[in-house]
């Protein structure tokens, strides 16, 4: 069972206080979008072995959504950051590179 630190309220708590919310940094496609864009937005998901970015909600705490960068094989948590962003923070990407040189995930690396 994981422990995560909520970047919003600063609390470090066990997984039962949180709720997993799937892949992070999805871009919404609405009316007028192509079939392919809409399909990718709604259904296509990364399933990496290694570095992954996902959404979590501190459901039993401050109630806020946030993002976590995590290794799917070792469960190492590289960092968490608030959800109000379109991309992972640069310093987090840098620190992941130190631990997992050459990583990439979608358009990020």
């Amino acid at each position: 069972m994981l422990i995560l630190t909520c970047p919003v309220c600063g609390v470090t708590a066990e997984e039962t206080e949180f709720h997993a919310g799937g892949e992070a940094h999805l871009k919404r496609f609405g009316p007028g979008s192509s079939e392919q864009d809409f399909e990718e937005y709604l259904f296509m998901r990364e399933n990496p072995r290694g570095v992954h970015f996902e959404r979590w909600r501190h459901v039993y705490g401050c109630g806020k959504w946030f993002h976590a960068a995590r290794c799917t094989t070792t469960l190492e948590v590289f960092g968490t950051y608030p959800a109000q962003t379109l991309e992972p923070p640069a310093d987090l990407c840098k620190s992941i590179s130190k631990k997992r040189p050459g990583w990439s995930w979608r358009e990020f690396s």
Partner: protein, 190 residues
Amino acid sequence: MSEPITALGGAVSQNGIAKVAEAAREGMITLRGDVTSAAVKKALKSVTGAAMPGAGQMATSGSYTLCWMSPDEVLVLCPADTVGDTLTALQNAAGTAHVLVVNVTDARASFTVAGPLAREVMAKLCPVDLAPGAFEPGMFRRTRLAQVAAAVWMPEAERFRIVCFRSQARYVFDVLCVAAQEGSAVGAFN
């Protein structure tokens, strides 16, 4: 208009290792707004006298207490009979600031767990480090209590306050009584 009642009519249990009791009815107001902004802080201070507490903290001034719920939510505790006035005052004090102020007094149930073993009773239900030093009066923690959401704090040493949803009052009281049952002292915080 009849006298408002609490969910369990003041239930008490003191057969176990700590006294579990439903707390007296207390006014509760949720204010949603940017509590880091000067306007909202000022409004809160002018009405309650208390300064906006930091994350995970609470602040009391006279009969008002402010509890930090999230960066955009504060729970205001006040005497039950002043809820209406406080609501209006907060709304007015906020002026043009974008806030939502709403009475949640009856949406909640509140309990106390008291006694030298109160920490142990709570640590059976909440996945939080409640050891002395790790959790102390002045702190305010939203967490999970058994299977429901709750907010907990310590008004003083050896006493916890718990706030949960009103519909779950019976469950929370019962589960606190199970955790406080006779013969269940842990001896972990001695």
